[in-house]
């Protein structure tokens, strides 16, 4: 064994010993009662009470509650007292301005990014379409799509949901809401400038880092302003336990600026080291920025809508720390076969496979919390999006671990299979969770109900149907493409021609998703403009049934 391998093995075993020690001390209860920590998001007698502001009106909330009553929600519960309800309203109002700015921006960028994506997708099977203008060519539209999704839609949605979540989780009004709002505006300027730069041909040329560094400056400043506001709120917290969502949000807010600064310093990175840095950034921005925000939302909204504490709080801490522990070296598996030291690739493959540990921890926890209550998915839009998103997190992560292995990577890398995988993660997991979260957050922040339940249904079925078609089609096509490229006896063009029908299928799926996003954006706009009908209850997923069962008293107190 070489010196490098020996050193790597010793470090690996030593750090794993640390993980075992952590697990042992957790099993001995050195981290305090997980029962109390898991209850932090509920008021005293709130457990057992379902909540989803986007869910059905008076009668159907009764149905939703009845499902939970039947499926083992225990203990006595009652509606919020007027004081408790008043305090919640104060918390929600404290973050209103920045949350609305973020969610509105997110919706705008979602639509723009979807159109870019759809155009890029169609160009792959209709190559002569829209080629007269330089800015419409594939080489610019595709990176514009990626950046508009990543920094526009996903980051804005994540930040908006976090800005709303933290005051609730910490029972403290948001500190510096105006600062955060300025931060959101700066972020918007950065994204607009960056996407504009890509379209006019000023891309920096590295995946995920296409924005010229000049536009990373407002991005960094805006992120910092929002981060400072959130961290100041954290410092003034009025709870004993930091709920697991807080861990994820706070960590993500520290990790992102580090990533942005290190990756964007001009003139620092060259050659092979630049490639290694590129994938260090490109993968970490997924695992250490979007993943924590998505998981924070899952850990809040599943228990909250079901009115049931998370299955095991300790398990969620293990999930958090192992994510922090393993993720940062994962990106190197994109350089398999590239001119980087072999030990670096091996390290990144090992770390990628180790990600199974946090993913299993999160998966068990979500599964055990939601299991037995899947009937509730019929009634709550939030739960529907978030639970599906959580399942796709498990799928995307396990798939990602497998794809990092050299044997699988040989086939899948540099094919459409990787594209399908990336969408499973950032769309199937993150975007779904954010849709669910926004359906919960907006009615609370605006104190206004979703105007048209039908639009929520349309949105859900369009994006789920579209995405299923998209993912399955592209995965099959990508795999066949990889096999064709590996076969030395087949000409390269075989690997291109074989993907054509699947690319066509992908465009159909993508078109349905884009349509769903339009429906969503229109609904959000109606909400912000207070259009549509005002409601007493919330919007419906299913039509109300004439004979409500269960706790009918619930409906009255959703202030």
């Amino acid at each position: 064994m070489s010196y490098a391998a020996g050193l790597l093995l010793a470090t690996f075993l030593l750090s794993f010993a640390g993980l075992l020690l952590f697990l042992w001390s957790m099993s001995r209860g050195f981290f305090g009662s997980s029962e109390a920590a898991g209850r932090v998001i509920f008021e005293a007698k709130e457990i057992g009470l379902v909540e989803d502001p986007a869910a059905p009106d008076v009668r159907n909330t009764g149905e939703f509650q009845a499902v939970m009553n039947r499926t083992g929600s225990t203990g006595e519960f009652s509606l919020l007292s007027p004081e408790e309800a008043e305090r919640r309203l104060e918390l929600d109002e404290s973050s209103r301005l920045p949350v609305l700015l973020c969610i509105a921006s997110a919706a705008i960028w979602l639509v723009i990014a979807s159109v870019f994506g759809l155009v890029a997708s169609i160009k792959l099977h209709v190559p002569d379409w829209l080629v007269s203008e330089a800015w419409l060519t594939f080489g610019r539209i595709r990176p514009a799509h990626l950046n508009a999704v990543g920094y526009g839609w996903c980051s804005f949605a994540g930040l908006g949901v976090c800005l709303w979540l933290l005051p609730r989780l910490l029972r403290t009004p948001l500190e510096g809401a105006r600062t955060a709002a300025v931060g959101a505006v700066l972020w918007f300027v950065g994204v607009t400038g960056g996407v504009g730069a890509i379209l006019t041909g000023h891309s920096a040329g590295l995946e995920w880092l296409e924005f010229p560094w000049q536009f990373d400056v407002p991005l960094f400043l805006g992120g910092t302003l929002m981060g400072v506001s959130l961290l100041r709120t954290l410092a003034k917290r009025q709870v004993d336990h930091l709920y697991v969502s807080v861990w994820y949000i706070a960590a993500g807010l520290v990790w992102l600026p580090i990533l942005l600064v290190v990756a964007n310093i001009p003139g620092l990175h060259f050659g092979v080291q630049q490639a290694a840095m590129n994938w260090w950034y490109g993968h970490n921005v997924l695992g250490l920025w979007f993943t924590p925000l998505g998981l924070a939302a899952i850990y809040y909204f599943i228990p909250k809508t079901l009115g049931k504490p998370i299955h095991s709080y300790n398990l969620s801490l293990i999930g958090f720390w192992t994510l922090a522990f393993f993720y940062s070296q994962v990106g190197g598996h994109h350089l398999i076969g590239g001119p980087v030291p072999g030990w670096l690739i091996t390290l990144s493959i090992v770390q990628s496979v180790m990600m199974i540990i946090p993913v299993v921890a999160v998966g068990i926890n979500q599964h055990r919390t939601a299991w037995g209550h899947l009937g509730a998915l019929r009634y709550s839009p939030t739960l529907r999006f978030v639970v599906l998103g959580g399942m796709m997190y498990t799928l995307a992560s396990v798939q990602g671990s497998l794809e990092s292995l050299r044997s699988v990577n040989t086939v899948t890398h540099f094919t459409h299979f990787t594209v399908a995988h990336a969408h499973l993660g950032l769309y199937g997991f993150f975007s779904m969770v954010m849709f669910g979260a926004i359906y919960f957050v907006l009615p609370r922040v605006l104190n206004w109900e979703w105007p048209y339940a039908r639009l929520i249904r349309w949105h859900f079925w369009l994006v789920i149907g579209g995405f299923t078609v998209y993912f399955i089609g592209l995965s099959i096509g990508g795999w066949l493409q990889g096999l064709a490229m590996l076969d030395a006896n087949r000409p390269f063009m075989d690997s291109v021609n074989i993907t054509k029908p699947y690319l066509l299928v992908r465009s159909f799926g993508g078109a349905a998703m884009t349509l769903g996003h339009l429906v969503f954006a229109v609904h959000v706009a109606m909400m912000l403009l207070r259009r549509g009908r005002e409601r007493e209850g919330a919007a419906l997923l299913r039509r109300p049934t004439p004979t409500p069962r269960g706790a009918t008293a619930v409906a009255g107190a959703r202030a």
């Binding site: 064994m1 070489s2 490098a4 391998a5 790597l8 093995l9 690996f12 075993l13 794993f16 993980l19 075992l20 697990l23 957790m26 099993s27 209860g29 009662s33 997980s34 029962e35 299955h311 095991s312 300790n314 398990l315 293990i318 350089l335 398999i336 076969g337 590239g338 001119p339 980087v340 030291p341 072999g342 030990w343 670096l344 690739i345 091996t346 390290l347 493959i349 090992v350 496979v353 180790m354 199974i356 540990i357 299993v360 921890a361 068990i364 050299r406």
Partner: protein
């Protein structure tokens, strides 16, 4: 009994039950298993590979097979020779001499190798037609590559001459190592025979 009827006690909730859950058994098995796998993967990684290649393939594995193989000669012919002599070896009438059925190609292998090594500048008669042009020297190619090209053109388009070995090329290269100018047409080449 009467003391219990005091209201503060009646208002109290049940004592909280202990609901801290042990870690799932699946996780307790999974973590050590993952540790063993990771250790095994690191310990068995191939550290003899060239560190400039990340996937364990060595430099020789990536190099195409050399040594006069027909496929390799064909590839070199396409990239180096076909621009003038054309892909079917027919040349261009009056400008570039043909290789198919050329007496220079199928004749002495020593002369052919010398032409490949140093090129020609001057008159040469091929299949009864006089040509006066310039062929660049190819001595920057390796012995194996020149042997592969020579073998290829001696076996294609109806040519049926014997293969040329790398050793022959090496010997010819050695013999004319001091030469820097191209051969001055067929007069000088004929002297080699």
């Amino acid at each position: 009994m009467t003391r219990l009827k005091q209201r503060p006690h009646l208002r109290e909730f049940d004592d909280p039950e202990e609901r801290d859950r042990p870690l799932p058994r699946l996780l307790l098995f999974l973590v050590p298993f993952m540790m063993l796998w990771g250790g095994y993967y690191i310990a068995t990684m191939d550290t003899t590979a060239d560190p400039t290649l990340g996937d364990g393939r060595t430099r020789t594995a990536l190099m195409p097979a050399v040594g006069g193989g027909a496929a390799n000669g064909a590839q070199l012919f396409t990239t180096k020779c076909a621009a003038c002599h054309q892909s079917a070896g027919q040349g261009v009438a009056g400008v570039f001499p043909p290789l198919a059925a050329s007496e220079w190609v199928t004749g002495s292998e020593r002369v052919l190798v010398q032409i490949l090594l140093h090129g020609i500048q001057g008159e040469i008669t091929v299949k009864g037609v006089r040509y006066n042009g310039l062929m660049p020297p190819w001595k920057s190619l390796t012995d194996e590559e020149i042997a592969a090209i020579a073998t290829h053109i001696r076996s294609q388009w109806g040519n049926g001459a014997s293969p040329v070995t790398a050793a022959t090329v090496a010997a010819e290269r050695e013999a004319t190592a001091s030469r820097s100018a191209p051969w001055k047409g067929e007069s000088e080449l004929s002297a080699l025979k």
